[in-house]
C-alpha cells in the first residue's frame, strides 16, 4: 500500500532523500561515456548542418533548426530511455536499489527521485542542444540586404566559436581529471552543454560579420540581420541575433522528453534497458502517427483505445509553426505542459505500482 509522509519532518526527510537519489542518479548518468557520446552526437550533428549545405531555397536556417529539434527529440529519447534503464533496471539487478530501499526510503520516493534525476540529465542535454540549434540557425546562410552588403551571409565566427566551445569543454574536463582528479564524464557533459549556452549568449554581442555591437543606441543595429530585443531608445545592452521563436517549440520537445523519461522509468521497474527503449520508440512512432490510424475511430474500438492511451506526440512537435516567421503561443505551451504533466503522472503512478510489489533480491 502506498503511504504518504505523515509529518512535516517526514516530508522534509522525504525531500532530502529525493534530492540525494536524484543527484546521485544525475551524477552517475552523465558520468557514463554513452551519455557524453549522445550529447556530442546531437550537438555536432546540429552544428554541422549549416556547414554542409544540401540545398539553398532560402531555407537554410529552417533546415538547421529542424535538424536540431529532431536531434533533440530522437537523441533525447535514447538518452532518457538509456538512463532509465541504467539507473533503475540495472540498479535493481545490481543491488544498489535494494541498498537504498533497505534504508528508510519508500519505494514511491525512490521511483519519483529516479525520474527527477533522469529528467535532470535530459534537461541538461536539452539546454546544450537548444543552444546548438539556435547557433546553427544563426550560422546558416541568410539572405541580407544592407547598405553595404547584399547577398547570402553566414556566420563563421559563431560556428567556429561553437566548435571551439565543445573542444575547450572536453579539454577542460580532461585537465580537471588529470590535475584535480575531477570526474571527466561529469565535467565533459556539463561543459559541452554549457559551452553552447555560453557561445549563444556571447554571440549576442557581435553581428554575423564579426562587428561588435555598441552597447547603446538603436542605430547601432544597422548591420544586423537578425531579431533584436532592444529598447526603443537609450541603452541597448544585448542583441540576441538568435531565432528565439524556437524557444517555445523546444520547450514542447522538453515536455515530450519528460513524458518519455517517465515512461522509461516506469518500464525500467520491470523491464531491461533494451525492452524499455523499444517500447519508448514504439510509443514515439505511434504517437507521431496517431492521427493517421485513429482518425474516425470510435471510443470502444482498438484504435480508439490506442488513441486514448498513447500520448499524442504531435502536440509536442511544432517545428513547422515557426517557419516563415510564425510563432507558437505561450498559452498553447502552458496547455501542452499540463497535458505532459498528466501523462507523466499516469506513467509514474503505474511505475510506482509496478515497483511496489517488485522483489528486490
Amino acid at each position: 500500500m502506498i503511504r504518504p509522509p505523515q509529518t512535516a519532518t517526514g516530508v522534509w526527510r522525504t525531500l532530502k532523500q529525493a534530492a540525494a537519489i536524484a543527484g546521485t542518479t544525475l551524477t552517475e548518468a552523465i558520468q557514463q561515456p554513452v551519455a557524453l557520446l549522445i550529447l556530442l552526437a546531437a550537438v555536432l550533428m546540429t552544428l554541422l548542418s549549416p556547414v554542409f549545405q544540401f540545398h539553398r531555397f532560402s531555407e537554410d536556417g529552417r533546415l538547421a533548426r529542424d535538424s536540431g529539434l529532431a536531434c533533440m527529440l530522437v537523441f533525447g529519447l535514447v538518452l532518457a530511455a538509456g538512463t532509465a534503464g541504467r539507473s533503475v533496471a540495472d540498479e535493481i539487478a545490481r543491488g544498489t536499489a535494494a541498498a537504498a530501499i533497505g534504508k528508510p526510503v519508500s519505494r514511491v520516493t525512490f521511483v519519483l527521485a529516479k525520474w527527477l534525476g533522469i529528467f535532470g540529465v535530459v534537461a541538461l542535454f536539452w539546454c546544450g542542444v537548444l543552444a546548438a540549434t539556435l547557433l546553427a540557425e544563426r550560422c546558416s546562410a541568410h539572405f541580407l540586404t544592407l547598405e553595404d552588403f547584399s547577398g547570402y551571409a553566414t556566420d563563421p565566427w559563431t560556428l567556429v566559436s561553437s566548435f571551439l566551445g565543445v573542444a575547450l569543454a572536453l579539454a577542460a574536463a580532461a585537465a580537471g581529471h588529470y590535475w584535480r582528479r575531477r570526474r571527466f564524464g561529469v565535467g565533459a557533459f556539463a561543459g559541452v552543454a554549457l559551452s553552447q549556452v555560453a557561445v549563444a549568449a556571447v554571440s549576442g554581442f557581435y553581428n554575423r560579420f564579426g562587428q561588435l555591437y555598441p552597447l547603446h543606441g538603436e542605430a547601432a543595429c544597422s548591420g544586423c540581420g537578425g531579431e533584436h530585443a532592444h529598447a526603443a531608445a537609450g541603452l541597448v545592452w544585448y542583441h540576441p541575433e538568435l531565432n528565439l521563436r524556437v524557444l517555445p517549440v523546444a520547450l514542447l520537445v522538453l515536455f515530450a522528453l519528460a513524458i518519455f523519461a517517465a515512461l522509461a522509468t516506469a518500464l525500467a521497474t520491470r523491464l531491461q534497458t533494451g525492452a524499455a527503449l523499444a517500447v519508448c520508440a514504439g510509443v514515439l512512432i505511434l504517437g507521431l502517427a496517431g492521427d493517421a490510424f485513429t482518425a474516425g475511430a470510435t471510443a470502444l474500438s482498438l484504435r480508439g483505445l490506442l488513441a486514448g492511451v498513447l500520448p499524442d506526440v504531435q502536440h509536442f512537435w511544432l517545428c513547422d509553426a515557426v517557419a516563415r516567421g510564425g510563432r507558437v503561443a505561450w498559452s498553447y505551451v502552458a496547455e501542452a505542459g499540463a497535458y505532459a504533466a498528466t501523462c507523466c503522472a499516469i506513467c509514474l503512478t503505474a511505475g510506482c505500482l509496478a515497483f511496489q510489489d517488485r522483489d528486490l533480491g
Partner: protein, 305 residues
Amino acid sequence: MESAKVIETLGLRKTFRDFWRRPVVEAVKGLDFSVRQGEVFGLLGPNGSGKSTTIKMLLGLLHPTAGEIRVLGAAPSDTRVKARIGYLPEVSHLHPFLTPRETLMYYASLFGMSHGVAARRTAELLTMVDLAHAADRAVGRFSKGMARRVGVAQALVNAPELLILDEPTSGLDPLGCREVKDLVRLLARNGVTVLMTSHLLADVEDVCDRVAILDRGVLRAEGQIADLLRKPDAVRFLVEGLSEEEASALRRELEARAGCRVQQDFPAMSLEAFFLQVVAQDGRLRTFEMAPFLQAEHVPGKGPA
C-alpha cells in the same frame, strides 16, 4: 527478566515464481525464530538454505508468500523502523563512480541527516574502517575488501539499534575479519542487536550468543552456541609444562582411574591467531577504535546491555 524481541517471525514462507507466476522454488518453509534485544544472533546454513532470503524479507526487500514478520515491533516495510536498522548486504552494492566519502554522505542523506552531522559521521566512519586515505577515490576501482569496508561503514551511518550483516567477513583479509568481529562485539556491548549470517562457522562461533541453522528453507537447530556445542559426557583438562613422558603417564593414570579411554593431544593455536601474531610483528595490526558517535555515551537512550 527476558529482554524484548527485536525480530520475530511466525510461519514465514517465501516461494519464488517465474514470469507466469508458476512456483519455481520454495526458499523458506515456515520459519519461526526470534532475536532478543542486545544479543548477537547467527543465521547459519549452506548455500541456498534461505538465509539471505530471510534477511531480505526482514528488510522489506522481498515480500513473504505467507507468515508474519515483526521487526522492532512493526512491519518491515515501515520506513520509521528502517531508520533504526543498519544493513550490510552480502555483496557491497555501491555506486561505482562515487567515492567512499560521497557514498557515506549519500546514505546519510537517506536518513535525513543534516550536512554537518553527515560529514562528521562520514569522517569518523572512514577513520574507523581505515579508509581515510582512500576517501576520495572512486569505489568502482576498489578491491573487494576495501569495498566491503565501505559497506560496513554505510551500515553504521545511522547508529543503528539493529544491525543486519549478511556475510560480513566475505572478501576481507584476516585483519579485516578480526576488525569486523571486534566491531560486532563492541556494538553488542553498547546495546546494539546484531543478526548476522556467515559461511565461516569459526566467525559465528567467535561472536554469536545464539544461532539458528537453516537447511533448504527449514530451521534445523536453534539455541545458545555453548549449549549446542557442549558434549555433556566429556571433560577436557589443559595442563601446561608437562613433558611428553609425564603426559603419557598421566593419561595412563586417568584411564586406570576412570576405566575408559582418555584422548591425549597437544593443543595448537588457531591459524587465524598465528597469522595475526605474525602480522603484528611489523606493526600492521592496528588497534580497532569504534567511531565516537557509535559509542554508548554518545547515543541517547543506548547503553551497555
